[in-house]
Symmetry: C2
């Protein structure tokens, strides 16, 4: 079973990396860009076969290690569930 996790900065948290991308896209001539936010994408292979338990395991991983809950949100999908 595969978990695809997306970790994004909470609204209001400064995102200098996103700003840098925005300026670079602008410099390359892309018009009409209202904003860019950068986050992380993490794919985890799990041995767990039960979707409900896999979901709980992934949520625990996000809260304990992968996401900084003060400034980041996480969301995930379980593939093959």
């Amino acid at each position: 079973m595969k978990a695809q996790i997306t970790i994004t900065l909470k609204n209001g948290v400064l995102d200098p990396q996103g700003k840098a991308i925005e300026h670079a896209l602008d410099a390359l001539g892309f018009d009409g860009i209202g904003g860019v936010r950068q986050g992380k994408f993490i794919e985890v292979d799990l041995a767990e076969a039960d979707p409900e338990r896999a979901r709980k395991q992934v949520a625990a991983m996000c809260e304990q290690l992968l996401a900084n809950m003060v400034i980041e949100n996480y969301s995930f999908e379980i593939e093959g569930a």
Copy 2:
């Protein structure tokens, strides 16, 4: 219109960041982890209202700036399309 872009390393490309996460999850007591791969997630606000043109614009952004096509793949979804 919002584009949600996911950039992942191609298969076979070494991913030390993923390996580090894998070891850290293991050290925290998470069992049955077969592998971890880390990628990037980028959200871009577009002024473009036509879904087809937005798709082309985002593909061009990925190829010119966001993804290193030698070692990375990209995929994206257009929200509100």
